[in-house]
């Protein structure tokens, strides 16, 4: 059985937004109990990731680190390591994912205790985002 739903997410502020409950509800609607769920964002300015839910500061510190790793093209400064070349903002697209997938079991995402699903908005001018959820299973 294959279930696919495309949803529009309202503009989210810059940074990570927890969408675990939203995705769990879609899996519930699909009636699929066991299989895999793939998420795909239809743009290149936001990303998907699975991140730690236990400590709020984990999200913001990951954001700070990634900002250092791939600074925006205005005023690139090499602040991580003098032996590394400056990385253009395109690298941020390359190192973050437009799709993620995870198992489904008993009709729910089979995540670890501290794993959550996040939409990461990388632009400071957020827009409505299209997200497709494809669940394959039984």
């Amino acid at each position: 059985m294959v279930y696919q739903d495309t949803i529009k997410l309202a503009p989210q502020e810059h940074g990570a937004t927890d969408i675990t409950d939203l995705i769990s509800a879609i899996i519930d609607d699909s009636k699929i109990k066991i299989g895999t769920c793939q998420l795909f964002v239809h743009n290149s300015m936001s990303s998907l990731l699975i991140n730690d839910t236990a400590d709020e500061s984990t999200k913001s510190q990951t954001a700070d680190f990634l900002a250092q790793l791939a600074p925006t093209s205005d005023g690139i400064t090499n602040i991580i390591d003098n032996s590394m070349d400056a990385i253009p903002s395109a690298m941020r697209t390359a190192i973050m994912q437009t799709s993620i997938s995870f198992p489904v079991n008993r009709g729910r995402p089979l995540l670890g205790t501290w794993q959550g699903i996040y939409l990461w908005e990388r632009t400071t001018q957020p827009k409505e985002r299209k997200l497709t959820v494809t669940i394959i299973g039984e």
Partner: protein
């Protein structure tokens, strides 16, 4: 046809652990001959990679590169309760991935000759790591 199994691995500190054999055995036990094997790690401080399996210095170099890229106890990190390696481990996990999808051909992982599936442990202490394997396809 669908088959799902949980595997558990003990890690003894930072580094890469070859789990190709256990994944291959799981596929063989499923009876599925053609399809996709989805591998998912249920943690946020260890990740999954495909990497060269021939020369172990490749993985030693990966460890060295990652240690230089993401430093323990980086001054920008505020999350310190679980030790200086913890926040670095979260970032390393995000820079790699939590899942892999590998095609299955004639009952085996359709990997390149020198590709192996590795669990990459990013914490310094010993841990038990759970990996969910979902195999979908036809016999």
């Amino acid at each position: 046809m669908l088959h799902q199994k949980k595997l558990r691995f003990s890690t003894t500190g930072r580094g890469t652990y070859n789990i190709t054999r256990q994944i291959t055995e799981t596929i063989e036990n499923s009876g599925i001959k053609f399809g996709i094997c989805h591998i998912f790690i249920q943690h946020t401080s260890a990740s999954l990679i495909l990497c060269e399996n021939a020369d172990k210095t490749v993985r030693e170099d990966l460890n060295a590169y990652m240690a230089r890229l993401v430093k323990d106890g980086d001054s920008i990190f505020k999350h310190k309760d679980e030790g200086p390696d913890d926040m670095a481990a979260h970032v390393r996990t995000i820079l790699t991935q939590s899942s892999l999808s590998i095609p299955i051909y004639k009952g085996k992982c359709d990997l390149g000759l020198w590709q192996g599936v590795f669990l990459w442990e990013h914490r310094t202490n010993s841990h038990k790591r759970n990996i969910a394997v979902t195999i979908m396809g036809e016999s």
